[in-house]
Symmetry: D2
Subunit: 408 residues, 4 copies
């Protein structure tokens, strides 16, 4: 396909592009091919089977037995859905400044007419359960209608400890709804909607679910559903109740993004074939290998708290005086790899390595080699040996032990 | 891919399915294949080329030189975007009951806190320019902030005369914004955003644009953009200004549905290769052939006004005492064809034949043969000869005259 | 993709092309997508699973428990393989002039150094068992080393009665090998390698197997395999023994056409899902409907013997003074449909309608409408009503009776 | 798609498989997608455009202005075509034992009834021009009808110096035909059919052309074509003259492998977009980096002559007492990478790293990391540092200098 400037969309440098941004992640061939089937009648019996299947399957990914609604929308849309279905104009919500996306969600809440109390953060730690508890404990009138936390901050590579935040809310005996954005965490990092007592979980298709962007999700507790009855923010497209009513028979109230649902069906199957716990362990191991490389280079991981290292991506701090964006440009031009840019407050100061989604050891090694070579080409002070350090970690933790192989 | 009930999504009766609902329309192979390319970095230089190309190209389809914004959303979302960007709580809008989708748009407006004055209709005619003019003329205080009309009513196969409505508004010298839904009309029926003086045009991907569902559009006049500055309905996801600012450099404020944009790029190229006027003529001719068949069967076309026949679809009235849905079920079971169901007030009473999108003479003939055979199998009283009548029309208007062929 | 002349391979008239030649048949989406997976190591364990699966599966399609070898080659290659593996220079074979492809096979045999006795035919009948019996009975020295018959003559739409030919050979008590070409018959017309006592069956991928061209087959009886030990025609690429030895472990002696094998795997699955007998009945019914149309037009079916009507294709005789090729050109230009041309002796005098492979009622109706309209546009004398006659046949034999539907 | 053993063909470990065998090489998405288009009428006008385009384009890849014929067959078939079109039973040919594939070609020649004089080799050097010259000089009766050399021995990673062999033949003033197999060399290693005076060049689709297997080629000099007139080996499927006659109008004498030709069309376009010389330089550089790694590991490259290093693949000698196949199995099980096995005389003793086709720096780095980790897991004695050495070579020769980047 030709672009109007004479370039062709399908004309690229030789070999596979390394798409190592923290999402959209690389879409596996199997999902691309599933999405390539002809669109069907969204009101017919075949669609009904598809609808029922993906609606049942996606719950298992969120680890919930409650409702999950699927929007043809980006993750931003699902943020809005979570807010407008549960809150009323002027309501106050408690949010935590974990990074760029937490800041964007805050800005959205304010645009929608909510009042946000924003617990400040340094973009190098997750949400602080103690600070949240203190805020809630100091709110006997229950002014806070919701506590909103980003599980995996895509801008920083820091995860927030959701189970601990839940405990903090419980300790404060506060009735606020608990809303969590795990847009980039779902299906790469361990996440448990029901067990962790989350009321609304927000997610998207283009990260751990390995789909192209275009779908987003709300997992909804009974408490959140109850809250939606009295919520006064105007809503129509995002309305849960109509969605849930229609979903009961496998259908959707407005035209669903059928071909993306084909892909979702396949993604759910793939995740269950590998096993969610195996998926989480795989990303955790790749995060460890990546950090081993960063340390060997003598560079700094943005995340300061080991318990909060993201298995999804690693944000690396550029040495003072060096532009992360110039570095990323050199990597792209020389090595056909896209790395994630610094966003918001850390623009130009960090670059981000995605190790989420459909990913494996050798792709990680290619990725880290590209970073190490790019650091050299860019004149960024660093020690060699990052690639070697990562390789040692991967070899030491290789899945199939050679002994058993020899025995087989 | 296996569904959880043991069925496979890719397991179908032999031969091509005839997807003759009035959208989603059949997605051409070329678009499906374009969408099957790996997802790229939505913040990288390659995406920028894609973004600029589709943003420029889509304007030509709307025949506007103003902005067109693209949402990852269904057409319902674009309805909401049109309203929340331009209106304030309690504003009154004038809408016209042309059918099911006009009724749904009205319901949405009310949910969002608008007051709707709904000019009643019989679902067999388009919006009445005279009635609109009368309403506006009787509104010297300019209570009506917007006039909203559905261009091509997908539920009835009736088009509204948008140019005439514009003239009516002008004659009434009324400043109301003019909003038009051409979700199912765009790129199958003639449509001119600028020439017809429309302020917001709403459309979607899965009809004349031949894409799967998942993208929707707002074309926006300078007047509408100006109105958005003072519009008070809360909005964030749908916010035009942020979208337009980001689009200026080829990017999007939240993650765009990259793979659907690949398809859009291809769709725009295909429409221009054929020529928009040729596309419109093709659908018009197929509508004529379809109505010739309906008349030959002795059945009734739902649309009563010849000037308002839709080139996109034809809704056929079932004889009293016969269920359109039982008929459609028999057609699907015997002939592997999906026809559109009656919606809302005409549920069970009409069926709809889509002849939009990527469509040609022989597919129409297969479609009409399936309808004629289905009428027989269902015991619906009718005369034979519909297929023959359509064939005569198509042969008489065949594109390549035999004489020129012989000469070639 | 752009051709060097500036045309794009993926740029076509709107709507689905009707590929109604008698092969290559329309490749179903499911097979195209299966072939679109990345190529794998043809010496690795995953390939081994694939190899074993397709080698086992293809036997069921030939209805044999003996070996079937798969060549990366066209059907012509498999003709050559059958001859060079079993015969020696100067051997005499008995062949039957059923049409163009039988004549090409004869020419090949002669080029390879064989002596062919060719029983003449009028291209409107299948091979004559009585004539074959007479020849064999008059050959007490067993000069004939093989009897070669084309099961489904793609150039004429006539099938030969293979079981009857077998009986004729048996009655003559002649030891000649029995070789059958069912390139266009396999998986559309009933065929039984073992039950009918065939020694070598030749077939190809692009007809009833619904694949693109590129694979061809030999099914091999124990007697044929034994004969190969003493056959003296030089051979290497086509050598059965090496193929069979390698196939035993799921592999191939030279690099196999992996992606076509992906498609074959899918084709076998699809045929078994529908059921071979259902597939045969489907094509038989479509042949009946097609002949009903031809008769209604007042035209002549080339095949003169009802017991030999092909379920794969119907060749139609053009009235004297009218060019079948001019007609086909008009159909292609006006209706985006490819019909089969007359070949060899009947070039320009017949056209052929393929109703094989992945095919259904409404595609047949579109096809026949295109023929009927094309006859009119070409000024070919005919009566209208062919489409109606076909429709009546299809409706009368529709698979899902409405009564049972209502009960369901 | 499910295999009969319950496995699914599309079910794989997470992430991209590293297919680092020396062919089939990784098929780029663009080619897979091109092959996924519906099959068209191989006797129609659209096919004619395709046929003309690929027939013209492939000549440029062989760097010839003479004929190139395209077979639906593996490379083995094209070997056979080269021999049977030019030689007669009992003819003597001079061949050179450069490795496994040269030995297989020799065996084929013998099977076809030719007499082969085989110049012995150690599988670590290319064909020796001096030895060939000596043989030819000692043949005043011109008993040798052809000299056959493998350009790029896929089993050893050694290239033969074809231009030098041509000079040797010329010095000997010998009229023998010069036949070259560049199945794995074409479009990865520099090759010039016309300039180097080759009479028949044999190649295949699944290596530098980046296609799946299934097509093979003969480039044919005028002298070879002349020789075919008197060649007496029986032939039909492989017959050049019929192919060339049909190709003149863009068609093929038997059904061509249409979908593979779609892919070929795309491959030719991609090679020209990158520029053949750039393609060759890319593979040469990757070969250098690979050998730097091998040396750093303290292992031995099989090829002993630097002037003969293959840019396509590198064969690595396993230390005595270690099984290359056990090593490869461990690499596959742990790192989802396929390496090439040792073939024939070097079975179990070498493994082969493919760096051909659609390939880039980071994929090479992933590949070498997998080898280095696999050596460790397998207990093969080696030094660490191979990956680092390769990385240093790649960084030192990176295509886009950072300075120019900064300037841009």
């Amino acid at each position: 396909m030709k672009l109007s400037n004479g370039l062709a969309l399908n004309s690229h440098p030789s070999g596979r592009h390394f798409l190592q941004i923290p999402g959209p992640s690389t879409v596996p061939d199997r999902i691309l091919r599933a999405m390539d089937y002809p669109t069907i009648d969204h009101r017919g019996p075949e669609f009904q089977q598809l609808g029922k299947s993906v609606l049942a399957g996606i719950r298992k990914i969120f680890r919930t037995e409650s409702h999950v609604v699927i929007y043809p929308a980006s993750g931003t849309g699902a943020w809005e859905a979570a807010l407008v279905n549960t809150l009323s104009p002027g309501d106050t919500v408690l949010m935590c400044e974990t990074g760029h996306f937490a800041s964007l969600w805050k800005r959205m809440a304010e645009r929608l007419g909510l009042v946000v109390e924003f617990i400040p953060g340094d973009w190098r730690h997750g949400a602080d359960p103690a600070a949240i508890e203190a805020k809630l404990a100091a709110d006997p009138q229950h002014r806070y209608k919701a506590v909103c936390v980003v599980h995996n901050e895509t801008s920083t590579g820091v995860t927030s400890r959701i189970a601990d935040v839940r405990k903090a809310i419980d300790r404060a005996k506060h009735p606020a709804l608990f809303m969590v954005d795990t847009i980039s965490g779902l299906a790469s990092a361990d996440y448990r909607h029901d067990e962790w007592g989350v009321d609304v979980t927000v997610s998207g298709s283009q990260k751990g679910l390995m789909l192209p962007p275009g779908l987003s999700f709300n997992a909804i507790s009974a408490k959140a559903l109850e809250a939606s009855k009295n919520a006064k923010l105007p809503r129509a497209y995002w309305e849960w109740n109509e969605m849930i009513a229609s979903n009961a028979s496998g259908y959707f109230p407005s035209t669903p993004a059928t071909n993306l649902l084909y892909g979702l069906h396949e993604a759910i199957a793939m995740l269950h074939e590998e096993g969610l716990d195996n998926v989480f362990a795989r990303h955790k191991r790749h995060g460890e290998a990546t950090r081993a490389a960063v340390r060997a280079w003598g560079l700094e991981v943005l995340c300061l708290e080991p318990a909060e290292y993201s298995p999804v991506l690693t944000a690396v701090v550029m040495p003072e005086g060096h532009s992360a964006d110039a570095f990323r440009k050199i990597v792209l031009a020389n090595f056909n790899m896209s790395l994630g840019q610094g966003l918001g407050k850390v623009a130009g100061k960090v670059f981000r390595i995605g190790h989420l989604g459909d990913f494996n050891d050798l792709t990680l090694m290619g990725t880290l080699a590209g970073v190490e070579m790019g650091l050299g080409l860019s004149g960024v002070p660093h020690r060699k040996g990052g690639v070697l350090a990562a390789m040692e970690h991967l070899a030491a933790t290789a899945p199939a032990a050679p002994a058993s192989e020899k025995a087989a």
